[in-house]
């Protein structure tokens, strides 16, 4: 299951980043039965050596509590020649109803932490809100506007035209291991 694009030998001494953690779950959404599509996006100088860069969690319907729990593991190994384009992890939270229809519940992203160690991150999410007519039909029928280009989740380029509404938050527990960063004089 490991996609080893490049077998990196010790002697090359590139700066490396390991991201080891899991998408724990989400809370604050209006309904249960949620799943999450996630992906990690980096700049051009970064190369993924091993691990999956995107995926989709299971659908969770919690028994007692309001939060959904996925415990989806993330294990990625990057090598990099520059700091630009530090990895960002983005999420799309979807709701699956009893008929099997999927409805978008939120978009969110956060930067992978730059300091080594364990981090608990709570990433807020938002959903595009349509016109008043669309909001009424969304209330009765479900569905609703989605982004045509999912790059907008983690880029600021054309956001000024969007109207959005806040949704719940995604909880992530990430561990970051850095290698050889001090040899290049990077303090983090």
């Amino acid at each position: 299951m490991n996609t080893k694009c490049l077998h990196n030998v010790n002697s090359s001494k590139m700066a490396e980043v390991h991201i080891v953690g899991q998408i724990v779950g989400a809370s604050g959404f209006p309904d249960h039965s949620l799943f999450c599509k996630w992906g990690i996006n980096t700049g051009g100088a970064w190369k993924a050596l091993a691990g999956l860069r995107e995926g989709q969690t299971q659908v969770d319907t919690p028994q007692q509590h309001d939060a959904a729990y996925w415990a989806h593991p993330i294990d990625i190994h990057y090598a990099t020649k520059g700091l630009q384009g530090w990895p960002k992890i983005h999420f799309q939270v979807w709701h699956q109803d009893s008929f099997g229809r999927n409805e978008l519940y939120g978009y969110g992203f956060c930067h992978v932490p730059t300091t080594p160690g364990m981090h608990e991150i709570e990433c807020p999410t938002w959903r595009p809100s349509g016109s008043f007519k669309e909001q009424v039909s969304q209330y009765f029928l479900g569905g609703g506007p989605q982004l045509k280009n999912p790059d907008l989740i983690y880029s600021g380029a054309d956001r000024y035209r969007l109207h959005t509404i806040a949704m719940g938050s995604v909880h992530v527990r990430l561990g970051v291991i850095l290698r050889n960063f001090d040899k290049y004089g990077i303090e983090c």
Binding site: H18, V20, D60, Q63, D75, M118, G175
Partner: protein, 207 residues
């Protein structure tokens, strides 16, 4: 020029307790999964706990206090070990049914960590299947639990989360800093932290 490219990870800890509000008489099976570059040098990577009942007070807790002790050797942090715990209980008809699966990574920083893992069970795909499962005591289970430690193949499963499990870890590493890996921020590795979570493993801080 020959330097060892291996570092060690020693994990001690315990499967402490759990909360399952609806069930009683539960035991756990656990296993550690890891990537292809990892090797277990000592300790057990699988085991079975005792069967315990819920406490009769307000906490309604299941306590196992089950020791975990394992040491890994590896050349590459990719495939960092994960602990998979599956809890089984006895249903109304006396058969063993699965009460929850939980998975978590072993923490990557040295020190003491206490983690609360949510436990979930796969759901039957239809109401009829749910009824047959309840009558026959054959609930949906994972054929190979190690699929929980991978990121693929989980998107087609529907689960129901019920309950939490508390695990504590004590993590020690050897030679990670020598190989150039940083698991704690650089300004912390040269100062002394007054609390009990000490990052002073590995001893020497040479530049």
């Amino acid at each position: 020029m020959s330097q060892s490219s291996v570092f060690l990870l020693m994990v001690g800890g315990q499967i402490e307790s759990a909360e399952f509000p609806d069930f009683d008489d539960i035991y756990c099976k656990y296993c550690f999964t890891f990537g292809p570059d990892w090797l277990v040098t000592s300790g057990l990577d699988e085991g079975l706990t005792q069967v315990t009942k819920k406490s009769r007070d307000d906490r309604q807790q299941f306590v196992w206090n089950f020791p975990l002790d394992i040491t890994f050797k590896t050349t590459n942090p990719f495939g960092w070990p994960q602990l998979i715990v599956h809890a089984y209980g006895i249903d109304a008809f006396g058969t063993d049914v699965v009460r929850g699966y939980g998975v978590t990574h072993v923490p990557i920083t040295p020190g003491r960590h206490k983690i609360r893992i949510p436990m979930f069970v796969p759901e039957s795909s239809s109401q009829l299947q749910k009824l047959t499962a309840w009558i026959l005591g054959r609930r949906p289970e994972y054929v190979d639990v190690r699929v929980l430690a991978q990121g693929e193949g989980r998107e087609v499963t529907r689960v129901r989360s019920q309950g939490f499990l508390t695990v504590s870890f004590n993590v020690v590493m050897k030679d990670m800093k020598k190989l150039g890996y940083d698991v704690i921020p650089s300004e912390m590795s040269t100062s002394v932290i007054p609390e009990s979570v000490g990052p002073n493993s590995g001893g020497t801080t040479e530049t």
